[in-house]
Amino acid sequence: MIRSTVRGAAALALAAAALGSAQAQAPIKIGFMAELSGPQGALGQDQYDAFMMVVERNGGKLGGVPVQVIREDSQLKPDVATQIVQKLIERENVPIITGVTFSNIMMAVHKPITEKGVFLIGSNAGPAPIAGAQCSPYQFITSWQNDNQAEVVGKYATDKGYKRVIGMAPNYQAGKDFIAGFKRMYKGEVIDEIYTPLNQPDFSAELAQVAAKNPDAVYVFYPGGLGVNFVRQYQQAGLLGKIPLLSSSTTDGSTLPAQKETALGVISGTFWGPDFDNPVNKQFVEEFEKKFNRIPSQYAAQSYDAALLLDSAIAKVKGNVADKQAFGAALKAADFKSVRGDFKFGNNHFPIQDQHIFEVAKDAKGRVSLKTIATPLKAHVDAYASLCKM
């Protein structure tokens, strides 16, 4: 008896849905997958908040079409991420997946997403393989290629005339990639490369070595909690005023709230800073600070641009994302004003953009933030674009 009631209810619901969808346009489903838990959750949360800020500002629409954002947490586990992606594609039939914080997750889900013809709008991870040989026409990355953030610091170090630099990073693939990226653009001598165990929180032994060798500068890549520890200990050891500290991903919007004044003076390199003086960025930073009561990090900026990109592309195809040819072309055109100024995709669908150098300093409101001090790389193409056959 219950079964027939359920069946009847289901039939009614189906009919109502059919009637309903005949009148209004079905919302475009967008899968949003990022790290939303654990210490790295701060990055994914920034990505999500910025993306949703655009959607909500447009009344739940992108490109004039209603969208339904399905929020998923990949928990920094590649197998969980692959299952989520399968579920999103097969059960929810999403045409677009965005987010993807970490490179190991990106490497796990890139092929499952792109080989099914689903558009991947990556707003953080940019590992070398997908910028090169494994590039796909369905990928569009609004952040950067991983090496860029190291390369710009290497160029800056050369420009500043530092002759002897010590490199430090955690002993895993990303750590080695960043040191390699730095060396690609740095023309001086890297007198030592120190790789510390990934879970080692105390750098006293390594910092004593640095003090003894007295280099012209130190270049580090210590993301997240490691970065907070490192900068604090660097300052406690009395090195911060004496030996310039150059970095990538160590002092950004996710770690500065914890580092506070201990990070003042640290140099970092990336594509965007909150003090960029263009109307799109000013609006972004103002809205984000008002809504979430914190300074947006670059991860928020990247995801904001991903939403703006989708906004422009969906508008161009008038919501018909099923026409993959047209939608792909609309995405490639990237006809929108970005928080970083002009936006252009390269042949491998990674941005060709300026890379800047920032110093941690107090902003006009006395808060610890990033100040733009140089632009060593203009319209920089990543090192792997030539390996991509597109």
Binding site: A211, A212, V228, L239
Partner: protein, 307 residues
């Protein structure tokens, strides 16, 4: 490699050593006297650090508040754990104790995630200790000197307690032959609770001292627990002397190894090989040391004499 650098690294090793001593003193007594494997000791260290950070941030940067929150807080927590969980486990097999205390590790990790959130919590070095001292031309953080001082003071205090007081005599007797002590009419339950509380308070103190240097986060107890187990196995279970010397040896070997082994390897091998292999071997050194000690002196370097 200058004397200045060597001396600085030695101090770094000493600092790590006294931190390990604070933790291993409690753990070795619990294992030696109560014959209980308490894996949750690392969690007590973590809770000490969290309580300290909470007190620090609630009272606008007061290290005293942090200390008042951390040490009595962990002491109470330790007593609670002892009464509720461990009291039922004294007669059980070591494996059951491992299982129960491992469960406590998971429990505490989730509790801190629930109360303080998943991202790390931070407390700063107190302003009167935030400078550096000049050591042979190299700067050394004053705070780390303070850690060494506190650790050594605790060592002296424990020595006085164990060797010069009546309670200490009972503790030594309990480590040597717990059944006989109980048979002689000593309140062994009270003694056990006292020992456990003392161990917990020391772990809390270690958490308080380590708080300003490392990030306070869920799961910070496990790496230090592993090092502590290495220390008590190397030093000798149940022996405070073993915990002290073992901790200093492990701390110094680990630090000197990490600091100088990669440089040494670079002299002998090609640079890329040294860079790949150096950090890996450096982190293995203390385990190799432990294996060597177990092979040559299975009771540890300074074992308790069992009568």
């Amino acid at each position: 490699m200058t004397t200045g650098l060597f001396f600085t690294q030695l101090l770094n090793g000493l600092q790590l050593g006294v931190l390990l001593f604070l933790l291993s003193a409690g753990l070795t007594l619990v294992f030696g006297i109560m014959n209980v494997v308490n894996l949750a000791h690392g969690s007590l260290y973590m809770m000490g650090a969290y309580f300290a950070a909470a007190g620090f941030n609630a009272f606008d940067g007061s290290f005293l508040a942090a200390a008042l929150f951390a040490v009595p807080g962990t002491l109470l927590l330790g007593l609670l754990i002892e009464r509720i969980v461990l009291a039922n486990l004294y007669q059980r097999d070591h494996l059951d104790q491992v299982l129960a205390t491992f469960g406590l590790i998971l429990f505490f990790n989730e509790v801190v995630r629930f109360v303080w959130g998943a991202s790390s919590v931070y407390m700063n070095v107190p302003s009167w200790l935030s400078g550096t001292v000049n050591l042979f031309g190299l700067p050394y953080p004053s705070y780390r000197f303070a850690i060494i001082a506190v650790g050594l003071a605790v060592g002296v205090g424990l020595y006085a307690l164990i060797n010069r007081t009546r309670v200490g005599m009972l503790i030594r007797a309990g480590a040597s032959n717990p059944d006989m002590v109980s048979a002689l009419g000593v309140n062994i339950k009270g003694l056990n609770t006292l020992v456990f509380g003392l161990g917990a308070a020391l772990a809390g103190l270690a958490g308080l001292m380590a708080g300003p240097i490392v990030s306070v986060q869920a799961g910070m107890g496990e790496p230090i627990l592993i090092l502590t187990l290495v220390v008590i196995v190397t030093g000798g279970i149940g022996s405070i002397r073993g915990a002290f010397y073992g901790a200093l040896i492990v701390g110094i070997v680990d630090t000197i190894g990490r600091a100088f082994l990669p440089t040494l390897l670079r002299e002998l091998f090609d640079r890329s090989v040294a860079q790949a292999v150096g950090p890996a071997i450096a982190s293995m050194l203390i385990y190799l040391l432990m294996a060597a000690v177990l092979a040559l002196k299975p009771q540890g370097l300074f074992p308790v004499k069992h009568g």
